[in-house]
């Protein structure tokens, strides 16, 4: 059996005020990288704010914010571009970090003719093959065994790529989570599991998902380390993730990371948390806001100023405004595209159905904006 490392303590690098803790491992990041992290965290914050406002104005069908959880996305920061990410639906930062463009992000939300997935999925279900970011699906947990398969394939093919997968604590209740953890342990697959424990699975609190003391402890049964980390501390996220990625790439197998964070707002634009939780519950977490803590840290080391942040925010806002203006001029994908890529080549019955539809009078979408 593999010796299992287990810790109930949270790994942290920054305290709640954004000061470096003494005697902890700190990730070795250049000033440039620290600046890029702050830049992308701000992008998530600005994008989420803008998109939610559009949704509330009735101009966007659906959205999912990540406010308060942005730091957890940076588990991807130590990955190489050749490594693979199997995301859930709330890791915007991982996408922007890997180079997903604001234009693609926004075109996907609108499902327009330039949407990378051609209007075939509802908002926030992105795909970027060129960035090794795998297509998102809505049923939770399905991506976890897929990540194990990709990692195992890399190992079989003699490559040193690593796969990372994200999911929420509610997803740890699915069969797929346990199946995938078990396969990964048995195969010693180079995979990193990142569980974003944000306290809530829509309306159900984390204590209704498990009777275990921590989600990280589930790793024990599968012969891998389970690490608990302050998911609102971006430096701790990167440190813990670096260790897990190194472990995977070095042939020592998988790691489960539980990133303790908090879903400050609703599950999605369709949710209303006031129905099921104390409206003051988020207050304590707002003090641990990951962006604030990182900002304070950068200020301590002389890498932050109000002008700098204002500049970045302005740049992001401009990019979003430009992408929205461009998207405004775009129409829906052509009708034919509905029938394409079901298979590599279109079979006769789908061609017949397409031709039939094209002969019908056009139907107006009741959801057109």
């Amino acid at each position: 059996m593999v010796a299992v490392q287990m810790q109930d303590d949270l790994r942290r690098v920054l305290d709640d005020e954004g000061k470096l803790l003494q005697g902890v491992k700190v990730p070795q990041l250049s000033e440039d990288t620290l600046g890029q992290i702050f830049d992308v965290m701000l992008m998530v914050r600005v994008m989420d704010d803008r998109m939610m406002r559009l949704q509330r104005q009735g101009r966007l069908g659906f959205y999912m914010k990540a406010i308060g959880e942005e730091a957890s996305h940076f588990a991807v920061a130590p990955l190489r571009p050749t490594d693979w990410v199997f995301p859930s639906y709330r890791e915007q930062g991982a996408w922007f970090w890997r180079g997903y463009t604001v234009t693609n992000f926004i075109n996907q939300l609108f499902g327009n003719e330039l949407d990378p997935v051609k209007g075939r999925q509802m908002p926030v279900h992105h795909t970027a093959r060129d960035l090794n970011l795998v297509s998102i699906s809505s049923p939770v947990g399905t991506q976890i065994p897929q990540a194990v398969g990709a990692a195992h394939a890399a190992k079989i093919m003699g490559k040193d790529d690593v796969a990372m997968t994200f999911f929420g604590e509610g997803t740890s209740s699915t069969g797929e989570f346990h199946v995938a953890m078990n396969f990964a342990g048995v195969y010693k697959a180079p995979v990193v599991f990142v569980c974003r424990n944000n306290g809530w699975a829509i309306s159900v609190a984390a204590n209704r998902q498990t009777a275990a003391k921590t989600f990280a402890s589930k790793a024990v049964g599968y012969g891998m380390p389970g690490i608990r980390v302050d998911g609102n501390d971006v430096l701790a996220m990167i440190q813990v993730s670096t260790e897990a990625i190194d472990r995977a790439r070095g042939g020592d197998g998988p790691t489960l990371i539980e990133a303790l964070t908090y879903r400050v707002q609703g599950h999605s634009s369709s949710d209303d948390p006031s129905v099921y939780r104390d409206p003051h519950e988020p207050d304590a977490w707002e003090k641990r806001d990951p962006l604030n803590r990182f900002r304070t840290y950068l200020k301590h080391i002389g890498l932050w100023s109000e002008e700098l942040e204002a500049g970045i925010t302005e740049r992001h806002n401009q990019a979003i405004s430009d992408a929205l203006a461009a998207a405004d001029k775009l129409g829906p994908p052509p009708i034919e595209s509905m029938f394409e890529e079901v298979y590599e080549e279109m079979p006769w019955h789908i061609a017949e159905q397409r031709d039939w539809l094209l002969r019908q009078a056009r139907t107006k979408s009741p959801h057109a904006h």
Binding site: Q121, T142, Q146, G149, E176, A180, F183, E341, V342, P347
Partner: protein
């Protein structure tokens, strides 16, 4: 030309493709040293090793889920589900993931996984070793469903499946895994996916069958011939996409049609075939299209011989169309 049974033909196809293409891997329960409970992968472990003939933990969702990840990464996994009856823990991975990856990613992520699984009854296996779940998968856009009835087709179709880029459910007729024996060319050949075969020509009525029911249809045709009834038997071979042209040509020729399948009747594949034929060939039909199928019950153990279609019932149903 050597003769092989279906198991040997499947194994031959796997071996040829694994030698030709390093990306092809076999995974599943007991497929390694043991060679599978039906021995389809026997000898592959010794030749290709544990990395390419993978004994998985016992969890179908994990077998298919990991196979998907392997395919996305660039491999060509050929997972085995030990019995078709055990496929349902992987249903979500097959229906919502595997079959949808290409489409939902805007064509960015093809997912070439060929799932092999034995189906059908007649082996005294009861409900959990006998089912024919094809309709559930034919009803799944994005998935191809292939169901050979003999060794020659099994090898040629399996090779074709492993060389194209869509996910396939490859259903093998376990009752005749060994009983069906025939000439199979050595080395490589492929059969076109989506093409049916007229395995016996006739003029009075068309029998549409696939998988384990083709031999039953042929037996009925032989009996019919002795009684002056000329029956044409079409082996569909691929169920999705099915070969509408061959089906229509035969039905237009004979003017009558009976569909035979083991699966339950209601919403079975026969229902789709009949709808498709009557939409396109109403003027050619001399009688309603009838079905001989399994019943809308769970698959029984003791009474499976009563449950399964047989040649007499098929011939009797053909006579019904003749007497219309």
């Amino acid at each position: 030309m050597p003769t092989m049974n279906i198991i040997e033909a499947v194994r031959d196809a796997l071996r040829i493709e694994m030698r030709r293409d390093q990306r092809v891997v076999v995974l599943g329960e007991d497929v390694g040293k043991f060679g599978g409970v039906f021995r389809a992968t026997s000898g592959l472990y010794d030749e290709f090793g544990a990395d390419r003939v993978i004994d998985t933990p016992l969890a179908e969702a994990g077998i298919i889920g990991t196979a998907i990840g392997m395919a996305l990464y660039g491999m060509r996994p050929v997972p085995e589900i030990q019995f078709g009856d055990f496929i349902f823990p992987a249903f979500d991975q097959i229906v919502n993931e595997l079959a949808k990856f290409r489409y939902r990613s805007g064509g960015q992520y093809p997912c070439p996984v060929v799932i092999r699984t034995p189906v059908g009854g007649g082996i005294r296996g009861g409900h959990y070793h006998s089912q024919s779940p094809e309709a559930l998968f034919i009803h799944t856009p994005g998935l191809k469903v292939v169901a050979p009835s003999n060794p020659y087709d099994a090898k040629g179709l399996l090779l074709a499946c492993m060389r194209q880029n869509d996910p396939v459910l490859f259903m093998e007729p376990k009752r005749i895994y060994r009983a069906s024996r025939g000439e199979v060319p050595e080395g490589e050949y492929t059969l076109e996916i989506g093409k049916a075969a007229v395995v016996r020509e006739g003029t009075h009525c068309t029998l549409l069958a696939y998988s384990g029911m083709v031999s039953i249809a042929e037996e009925a045709a032989k009996k019919g011939e002795a009684e002056g009834v000329s029956i044409e038997v079409v082996d569909l071979r691929t169920l999705m996409p099915y070969d509408i042209d061959t089906i229509l040509a035969s039905v237009k020729k004979t003017g009558r049609c009976v569909v035979v399948h083991e699966a339950p009747r209601t919403c079975g594949f026969g229902a789709e075939l009949i709808a498709a034929i009557q939409e396109r060939a109403m003027d050619h039909l001399e009688a309603p299209i009838l079905r001989v199928t399994g019943f809308d019950t769970p698959f029984p153990y003791t009474l499976e011989h009563e449950y399964l279609p047989n040649a007499d019932r098929v011939l009797g149903t053909v006579r019904q169309t003749l007497e219309w």
